[in-house]
Symmetry: C2
Subunit: 566 residues, 2 copies
């Protein structure tokens, strides 16, 4: 029997990071160690000694030192806890939220580490959910449309304020000194790998999905950037890199400094960085077309592989080799899922259910799920549009809002709760329909993330609504597992790893026993309800009825009396 | 100074009746005495000794003995409590829920008083909200449409299951023996007057609004009734009367027996019976066209006077002299108003607001109203259709249901509460618009009933949404006050009363000081919101989007698996 070999995956999230130690042979997880970022999400004041630098609305920053601390604490922690020989770890991989980016000096030092820039908000890491670059995103979209940029349709026709260039442009506009001082503008994912290896790399996943890069066309051309701002013309050549490394490659070898942080052997393989959602696909055994991967939490991210790259309306992006080398990887998304259920439980559930939950020592969600599960499809008499946080796919419209129809004086909370679950399932079906209409077949669904773990009713409804069998990931840490799998691939067979991510997935990725199968009778009812959903979806989402826009406009005007409502 | 003169009004409600003692000179209310019906609303089992007769779904009965008990207890009670000389009471009037009807012998004895019929549900009083005659109402509507009955359009194109002939037809079909044994089928209002006077009368208000009678055309002709059932052909001549007495007349004189019950002088005037909503108009000083009277409680009933009788789509009925002699009286309605607010507070408000209410010793409604009042028009970002119990006016469609649009993850309970208030105000404006489109001008609104008393925010929103000044009744007992006013008219000037209801109203009816005036800025915003309301109203209410119907159908099918959902 061969010596056991291990890989480590580190998943950098919004409030914390977690390191998972994985047996390369079979994907068994030996342990997880969480590091809660000391400075968490910085959205009110910079963590300077006096806390006197106040951030504007929609700002969200992180401290790059928290990423280093993750390497220093979570990695040695998980190894020590498992009691294995650190020398048996053959590789390390990471995944990150994206686009989460920062300005650094040429040697990788974050500007915010320098005294000179410590009190300058733009010197810090802009977290994915930093939404203050919306004016810049609007300009990117406007200019791209005016100049007929062909890449726009790869991204569903609209670039998000969360992405790389709006954030970079915001730095330039609001803090030109920081922009000038930044030798590099880089994804935090790639920056973290740089810290492990001493080598700057740029992964094709964040470049493709968040920085408008493609293997065929590269980045947008300088004329486009110049049209946004003359000083922005050469942002790629001045601050970034045109050398983009494919997922599954080795980014470099663990440096002596990083080996000292982590307690791992210097020289082991460090994989190219990845994005948390995308890295989940191989971790749920999905390495070829035909399956929708749904990473379900507060929102849902969908990953779909394809042999070709037709334009799919409302997809968030399509990148060759962006998920699994050899395939086009599509990303799509629903901007609120668990968030809607959370909103409902917090804002709309009367005391009686809270009391029941307390008495029985369970959550209000569980009480509602139990009552909702007793209802038959259609029995609630309700139908909702799941747009509480706008609609990403397939409408790409943040100004849409929620709708519920069918309430009577007899309507109860569990009925509304079920209708909201169904609405998110209809939203998923609309995305599947958009892909199939574009020629990309989807035969099954695999779900991972926080929601599928806890909620059997949700999974059955998704199976019934989509009419597809649904499997759930075995791992509760799919992103970290996926990162560990890419680490094993980076290490390669010679070091006890794998030659390809497919080979790694075949051994290391697992699904829970049992599938949720669509129930024919439920499916028939949901087909009728879905037809009504589509009718409402198209009516309110494609301009037929403008009430959601009018309501947003009136709300903004009411809060700012200087604007006129009409 | 003249001797003080008093009149008594008795308002027969759903769970109780109340007698109010009123000073004829100025309408001052000296007291109110409530009698809670011993048998309340009978909707599960007949109040027989063994309680073994079970009622079907949608049944709702009353016990006529409770009306007699009201005369025996509430009337002497209010007189005694006030300490006045009973001989100073010059007249008595009553109002009733309608259509509330019963079968009796020729001498007025209710069939349910007879041992032979005591265990027969059809022998009891069918209360207004007895909804089990829906199949009969469907047949009345179908046959009327087939035969081109011209009266149908006086009632918004549809007869309710609550009205007289569906209830009578249900007796015939389900209990032909009771139907045969019934010498009379009569409104409880008229039956109660019969008990006071010994004389059977039929008032033109219930006849006109609930029994398809008009001064010009009388009742539907026998051929119509025969088409429903051959045995029903002569229902009017066999069981009812073609002699219909106008409001404001004397029904008769207080009999010795009734004088003994009530402690009043035998021979005083007894007014023709009235309906609770309709009798409220003069009690809020409305005796001529131009004003919408809104009787606002769990639902809202609207009364409008007019010199002419154009067809108004969705009005519940129009009757010459049906409210104030000399005018056409229109009735319209919103099927749920306070009920929607009650539903929301009971079903959709999280514990925090309940805790606040407890701490401050106020109702949850008050907590929500306070928070909702702090919002500016449009600030909630929400819009609702107020159809939780269907829509009476102007769509006449019980199968419509509620809708709310605009929810985001930031939406809070007080915002939804305000949106529901606004929705009912938009519903009222739609009714006003329908009347004005038909040529009946409405310059102002006068509100009475339970809701306007308590809820200042509601009143201001109604003023802002309708763009009309709004006054509130001074009396908390407008129906009983109106009945007392008609009693004073029945007594006439010779006895110290009045010659006309207008004269009585001029002295006895009062409004609260101060009017709610529309605020121009709010009005402008509400005009925009109302345009969206109308768009949704017409889309979902006039067949453009069928989702409410589909949802009801699926709900019924889900609860009865033998039906097919599609």
């Amino acid at each position: 029997m061969a010596e056991p070999r291990f890989a480590i995956g580190v998943d950098f999230g919004t409030e914390s990071a977690r390191a998972v130690l994985v047996d390369v042979a079979d994907g068994r997880e030996l342990g997880v160690e969480v590091y809660a970022y000391r400075n968490g999400v910085i959205d009110e004041r910079l963590p300077t000694p006096d806390s006197d630098v106040v951030l504007g609305p929609d700002w969200a920053l992180q401290d790059p030192n928290d990423y280093i601390e993750t390497f220093k604490r979570a990695v040695p922690g998980v190894v020590a806890r498992a009691g294995i020989d650190p020398a048996a770890v053959i590789g390390i991989g990471i995944d990150f939220t994206a686009c989460t980016m920062l300005p650094t000096k040429a040697d990788g030092t974050p500007l915010c580490f320098l005294d000179e820039y410590r009190r300058e908000p733009h010197a810090w890491v802009k977290l994915w959910k930093h939404h203050a670059a919306q004016p810049e995103a609007d300009d990117v979209n406007r200019v791209a449309a005016e100049m007929g940029e062909t890449w726009l349709r790869r991204y569903g026709g609209k670039i998000s304020s969360e992405w790389f260039f709006p954030k970079a442009l915001q730095i330039l506009r609001e803090a030109p000194g920081v922009y000038r001082a930044a030798d590099r503008l880089i994804e935090a994912a790639d920056w973290a790998i740089w810290q492990l290896t001493g080598v700057e790399t740029r992964n094709n996943c964040t470049a493709g999905y968040k920085a408008i890069w493609s293997a065929e066309e590269g980045f947008p051309n300088p004329a486009f950037f110049a049209a946004l701002d003359p000083r922005f013309e050469n942002v790629v050549d001045e601050k970034m890199s045109r050398s983009i490394v494919r997922l599954g490659q080795v980014a470099g070898r663990l440096s002596g400094r990083a080996a000292a942080w982590t307690g791992l052997r210097p020289g082991i393989a460090v994989a190219v960085a990845n994005v948390d959602a995308h890295v989940s696909a191989p971790a749920v055994s999905v390495t070829k077309p035909g399956t929708l991967v749904a990473i379900m939490g507060t929102s849902t991210c969908h990953i779909i592989l394809s042999d070709s790259a037709p334009v799919i309306p409302g997809a968030c992006g399509v990148v060759r080799d962006g998920v699994i080398p050899g395939f086009f990887g599509y990303e799509a998304g629903q901007s609120a899922v668990g968030d809607i259920f959370g909103w409902f439980v917090e804002r709309c559930v009367p005391p009686i259910y809270h009391e029941q939950a307390r008495e029985r020592g369970v959550s209000v969600h569980e009480i509602l799920e139990e009552a909702a599960a007793a209802l038959r499809p259609g029995e609630s008499g309700l139908l909702a549009l799941d747009w509480w946080n706008g609609n990403r796919s397939v409408l790409v419209d943040a100004d849409l809002s929620g709708l519920m129809v069918g309430m009577t004086l007899a309507t109860q909370a569990p009925e509304m709760y079920r209708a909201l679950i169904e609405a998110t399932a209809f939203g998923t079906r609309a995305i599947i329909d958009a892909f199939e209409a574009g020629g990309i077949k989807i035969d099954r669904v695999v779900a991972c993330g926080g929601l599928p773990e806890r909620n059997r009713l949700l999974m059955q409804i998704y199976a019934d609504v989509t009419g597809r069998s649904l499997r759930v990931a075995a791992s509760a840490q799919t992103p970290a597992l996926g990162s560990a799998m890419f680490a094993a691939v980076a290490a390669g067979p010679a070091a006890g790893g794998y030659a390809t991510i497919e080979a790694a997935a075949a051994k290391m990725a697992h699904l829970r026993e049992g599938a949720y199968q669509p129930i024919e009778e439920a499916r028939r009812v949901y087909d009728v309800l879905y037809a009504e959903y589509v009718r409402l979806h198209d009516l309110f989402g494609r301009g037929g009825n403008p009430s959601m826009k009018t309501l947003k406009r009136l709300r903004v005007a009411a809060r700012d009396p200087s604007r006129t409502p009409a």
